[in-house]
């Protein structure tokens, strides 16, 4: 029965390509965003088929869920609802199908662009197909040194120990993205939904559960798929749900405590790395005896920061910038 997995994978891959085609060619932005969320979901399935459950978790939570929410929030602020193709002037043929749009380059330019992309795709396909089929890469080195890393999940070992510097820089990139969004100025405040409605009930029921599952993912990341980014994205999702239900951070917490929570992940990461260096080692080279505890500490701080950053990205403007909020 080895034909069945092949058919399944083929259907997954073909549907992914078809979704990408549809969403890139869609003129209505709302439709494109919904297709993008479906695309992210299928991508997560494909990651599971490729035996990468950590990446699948991160893709489903951040790629499909949070990015979709961010895009929808941006769309709601850019276009009023029901006004989706107001800026484009499509020309329709006899049956009312859109044949061309008057924005953008002419037809010969687009044909050259398609040809260029086809050449690029063929080149990429040739490069991928000519890779050796069994390429272990660095997985043997990781497996040999896993006992020294302090955790038993090789993905967490690579992310938080062997390549900890990359994760440190990722945290910095997230913080920079938030600073960029905050520097863009105030966004119009969305109307608060009716108190006690379905959305408020959903937020009340789901937030404790999200916190619990985020804590579980953080704890289990050392030996099973999970970890700081997945747990942090669940915290971010809880924040998004609360923001949608109309809850806002109190003014007392919106100034210094919020900023402390946002930077504690990156700050603790750098503090651990520097203290290891001061104790005689190299930057971020944890001593194997305490590596497990250090990784858990860093991941806990990172989870808090990532969750707060993602929720703040969804909110858009700086909390407390309106005074009396």
């Amino acid at each position: 029965m080895t034909l069945l997995p092949l058919i399944f994978d083929g259907v997954l891959g073909f549907t992914l390509l078809w979704l990408a085609w549809q969403l890139l060619g869609s003129l209505a932005l709302f439709r494109a965003i919904v297709l993008f969320i479906a695309f992210g979901l299928l991508m997560a399935l494909i990651w599971v088929r490729l035996d990468a459950p950590d990446v699948a978790l991160a893709e489903a939570a951040i790629g499909a869920g949070l990015t979709g929410a961010l895009l929808l929030a941006a769309l709601a602020r850019v276009e009023p609802p029901g006004d989706e193709t107001a800026n484009l002037h499509p020309e329709k043929d006899g049956q009312g199908d859109i044949v061309s749009v008057t924005e953008g380059g002419g037809l010969p330019f687009r044909r050259w662009l398609v040809a260029l992309h086809l050449v690029l795709a063929c080149g990429l396909g040739y490069a991928v197909l000519s890779l050796p089929s069994a390429a272990p890469g660095l997985s043997e080195a990781v497996a040999n040194n896993l006992a020294l890393s302090g955790v038993s999940n090789p993905v967490t070992a690579v992310l938080l120990n062997f390549r900890a510097y990359d994760t440190l820089l990722e945290m910095g990139v997230l913080l920079l993205a938030l600073l960029a969004v905050w520097s863009l100025g105030r966004t119009p405040d969305a109307p608060a939904p009716a108190a006690g409605g379905v959305l408020a009930l959903l937020a009340r029921l789901l937030t404790p559960l999200l916190l619990l599952v985020a804590g579980y993912l953080l704890w289990v990341g050392g030996r099973a798929p999970g970890g700081a980014f997945q747990a942090g994205s669940l915290l971010g999702a809880a924040g998004v749900l609360l923001v949608l239900a109309g809850w806002r951070l109190g003014r007392r917490f919106a100034q210094l405590p919020l900023r402390i929570t946002l930077v504690v992940g990156l700050a603790l990461f750098m503090a651990v790395g520097l203290s290891v260096m001061l104790a005689g080692g190299r930057f971020l080279a944890y001593p194997p005896a305490s590596a497990g505890g250090l990784i858990l500490l860093i991941e806990a701080a990172a989870t808090l920061s990532i969750g707060m950053i993602l929720a703040a990205l969804f909110l858009g403007s700086r909390p407390g910038s309106r005074g009396g909020q």
Binding site: V198, L199, L202, L205, L209
Partner: protein, 99 residues
């Protein structure tokens, strides 16, 4: 084939039939309210049958518990989101389809 495996396959197939019916409803029903109704009802039952089928193949009671919690969460989320979409549609003035 053991009776447990056979029952599991039957439950999974029944769940797939309900999902197909829900998707058919999404594509063919005349307005947003009937489409929401088809989606939530049929997909929730389909997921429940699939969870039952997978629970028969599960390794431990913990896995069965997790599958059941997933089904209950999908039920909660599906019902709430369907209500919110229908309320927003009503607020925008979309009238339910009458024959």
């Amino acid at each position: 084939m053991a009776i447990g495996e056979l029952l599991s396959i039957l439950l999974l197939l029944a769940g797939a039939v309900f999902f197909f019916a829900g998707t058919l409803g999404l594509l063919r029903f005349p307005d947003i309210y009937t489409r929401l109704h088809a989606l939530t009802k049929a997909d929730n039952v389909g997921l429940g049958l699939m969870v039952a089928g997978l629970a028969l193949q599960a390794d431990s009671m913990a896995a069965v518990g997790k599958l059941t919690v997933i089904w209950l969460l999908v039920l909660l989320a599906g019902a709430s989101v369907a209500h919110l979409i229908a309320a927003a549609a009503r607020q925008r003035g979309i009238v339910p389809w009458k024959r």
